[in-house]
Amino acid sequence: MTTKSKAKPAAETAAPRMMTGAQIVVEALREQGVSVMFGYPGGAVLPIYDALYGQDAIRHILVRHEQGAGHAAEGYARSTGKCGVALVTSGPGATNMVTPITDALMDSIPMVVITGQVPTHLIGTDAFQECDTTGITRSCAKHNYLVTDVTQLARIMHEAFYVATSGRPGPVVVDIPKDIQFATGPYVGKEGITKPTYMPQRIPKTDAIKAAADLMTKAWRPIFYTGGGVINSGPRASEKLRELQELTGFPVTSTLMGLGAFPASHPDWLGMLGMHGSYEANNAMHDCDLMICVGARFDDRVTGRIDAFSPKSKKIHIDIDASSINKIVRVDVPVVADCAEALDALITEIKALKRKMPDLTPWRDQIDTWRARRCFTYTNSAEMIKPQYAVERLYALTKDRKTYITTEVGQHQMWAAQFYHFEEPNRWMTSGGLGTMGYGLPAAVGVQAAHPDALVIDIAGEASIQMMMQELSTAVQHKLPVKVFILNNEWMGMVRQWQELLHGERYSHSYSESLPDFVMLAKALGGHGIRCNKPEELDAKILEMIDHPGPVLFDCRVERAENCLPMIPSGSAHNQMILGEITGNEVGEAGRKLV
């Protein structure tokens, strides 16, 4: 039998305050400590908008498209560790939220989405702007609620925050019919709210920690493979990771989502792993004798060919979500726990063992030979800006500031991950699991709303930015001086690269035709536009972007045909990276069928 919890009695509530459903929503948000939310009004949420009117505890950022509200809430959440909040109307408002909800589910981002719904008596009649929001979002949200009784509203609101932020975080949808927003009901506070069937296991089992510590103190070729879970767990997990690494001296690699949990300047940092990860990280993963996976999930972008994945290693997997363990890769020691708790327990256990650990020198030497390949080397040019060079310069000119980076999806995203380096968690926001083009600009809006004084840059592609570019207007309205740094290669570069690699250079519909003039576009939206074509002007123009007090669209014209390397093609193993140039013959029939 597997039981998640024992029921706990709910706390008693003393003479509740009566208010309308709409007021309950706003009061619950306030009690949950929400200071910024993102939304877009419509008929079915007007009572809630009315309750927001004239109050100043919560800053409401009006977006231009509901998808923007969702990604902004995600960016806010990921850069603060707090829960993101979005508010949208029924029907199209709710369906426009499906992408960010799915995005947040894939990347485990805590988010509460409040959707309006048609009045209860009209549900099921195909009323104007009715859609089955809980039905549509059932499989893409961590949990969802349709509120049919105003007396339950306050509890549901608090429960939504609890579910969204605890365990493996994720998006929770609260769908509130308009009559419930008008109805009067009792307000109950967040104290004592529990969900008896939902009780994530935060503390690791002692025998699992003992088994893990035993393996760790005997390993000759160990590696930490860390992921977004370390960031989601909170800053303490990053501290504990650094402490445990200090104690053991093991090399560290990370997934795209985990960048920043371990400082990139550290000598034992191997860089990101996976499809566009470093040669040293992937080879170390392949040849290690012990893999300690912390808050990562063996995604196919990370493992490559699964039957050739790290064949010689024992594997320890720390994850708060038991279903992530043994899902893709069989592991030897499963540890179901919050990362920070598990890392802390490992530190204590390893110290207590007082064991003389194997000499890692041969392993480090091996890693150094891989490093010596300098896999991110590219051929620079005096005439054209190379995209890698552009990110390198952006990094050099912004690294000493309080900088937050978001990205869109494509080659530029990978170049950002390869050439921008992070020392701290929560500084890097990217759509990993879902790979959502259009994520970066609204996410940057959310980050900037949380950190008004920081430098927030969306490293973008010219195709991706067109998916959500209207959000520049949001940034202008709310005085959020985000910078959009477009690596404009006039191609859906990542698509073009795959067509070169897999489809005989038949570039079907991947050229970015009829591009807008981004400088004029910036002006039209009330921002500042900058264009750069020449490597020698790049630094000065990046500085101009940084110094501009408002939102900027930076049209950085880069080499068009550049490929993002190194690369493990789908269906290949970690030690089968393409390092130099794509020849078109790398991938066989079976590999072609993969995504």
Binding site: I306, Q576, V587, G588
Partner: protein, 191 residues
Amino acid sequence: MTDAPKPLGGNGSGPKSAYFLSHADQEIERRTLAVLVDNEPGVLARVVGLFSGRGYNIDSLTVAEVDASQHRSRITIVTQGTAHILEQIEAQLLRIVPVAEVIDITNSKTGIERELALVKVAGTGEKRVEALRIAEIFRAHVIDTTNESFIFEVTGASEKLTQFVDLMRPLGLVEVSRTGVLSIKRGKEKG
């Protein structure tokens, strides 16, 4: 260990990614799972949606409230899969917020499974007599009678019901309604 990249395995001779994760070589097992859930709106859809969304099998499904005071419903699911898939099914079910418990009650020494069927048979003369005789052997009850028809209520293991239905087929079987499998653990212990 080598630092030179090996030639790429591009001959189509079986590169795999997670998408091609195949457990075809593993044995398929049948499982009966009791899923205890908070009886809240949509909970059945969540459970069923998990199975369809992740490509798991449902051979049989029953659901009813079993504890009104605690709002607990019991969903009994008969499913199939490799040991790996079955482990995932249980873990994925437990991720669903209103799922409280997952109990594996596969028909074995520790579990009992029963199903109920209502079987309508129409006919006269010798066939009618034969139907009654077989019903007696299966300890089926007649719960409705006309001059030309019977409705039998029969309970037992699913295979027994299938056998009963097969025997009724040549005797004028009209239609069948089955509950799907219910299960419970033997002995005094819960789950």
